[in-house]
Symmetry: C2
């Protein structure tokens, strides 16, 4: 994000290295306020019901019309787990049970950390909610891999489906590297 | 953080609920730019060497003079794991090997998520680095619990020590609730 002006006093901010620091920050030329920029957290949940996976179809950019694991930016005042549960409720109108940690995915190129959970439908009710035009349960063999929205969701889902065969789920921390050349094909 | 002025154009920002949103945000009264505020990530690493744990003594507020698991705010351009490795290098001048995920700790009252790793010293060299006056290896029975800086570090270390007895480490996601009444005793 561009930082031209100070949040506190409205004067001009400039990039400089504060005393005792080793990285350039947005420092106010008047009041000296330092505005730090840090990675953001996205919470997500892979939802299973009767051996199938619940996905939502996106109505917002990027990747409009693609299927996705329900996910969204974490808000202040919530935990990673409650953030994932909220996103699921908003996007695919579903209530969850047995929600546990599944993975931590670093997307360094986007300054994002995606915290993935896995859970089950608390009851078999769901539908298209906010930013979503459709919600469907997919058997593992029917997942539309070519129409999935993001590399992180594909990576997490592939591991989930591999592990659900044995029922022996792991928790992994992994880097997701975005192939910008490949993305050009999708016009994002 | 207080947001009185817009980062982009310097005009006044006001709290209002943007269209399609359900939460108040800092919205610029002139250009309409919305500045979101989201939780920050702290990366940490519990370091083991010859059955002992490496801790650093803090020279910065809060909790000056207390012992802590090396930890710090994640920077843009790094992964959670590399952030933890960087903090360890900065604070206790140590290089690590076998670094793996240990826990995700939500501190909702602080709008923070602490991502804990565990690792081993790559070689037996360490010392007091940035923001640190001392670095020492502690046998589990010698850890100065009453002089540890933060509840999240205490919670993570207690589980680590319990699990190191069996060698069977788990990865957990957990909420840390800060007892502000208790903290008053420490004058933080």
């Amino acid at each position: 994000m561009e930082i031209n002006f100070c949040n506190l006093c409205g004067a001009t901010s400039e990039q400089s290295i504060p005393e005792g620091d080793d990285k350039p920050r947005a420092v106010c030329t008047q009041c000296g306020h330092i505005q730090y920029q840090n990675p953001k957290i996205v919470n997500a949940c892979i939802i299973e019901h009767d051996g199938k996976i619940l996905l939502g179809k996106r109505t917002i950019a990027p990747r409009i019309g693609c299927w996705n694991v329900p996910a969204g930016f974490m808000e202040n005042g919530e935990a990673t787990r409650t953030g994932a549960i909220r996103e699921v409720k908003e996007e695919v109108l579903a209530d969850l049970k047995n929600v546990t940690l599944f993975g931590v995915y670093n997307i360094v190129q986007r300054n994002q950390v995606h915290v993935y959970f896995r859970g089950e439908l608390a009851h078999p009710h769901f539908g298209a909610g906010a930013e979503t035009s459709d919600a469907q349960l997919f058997a593992p063999e029917d997942i539309p891999w070519d129409e999935l929205a993001f590399p992180v969701g594909i990576t997490a889902l592939k591991r989930y489906i591999k592990e659900m065969e044995s029922g022996d789920f792991s928790i992994q921390e992994q880097d997701i590297v975005i192939d910008y050349e490949m993305l050009k094909k999708f016009d994002v």
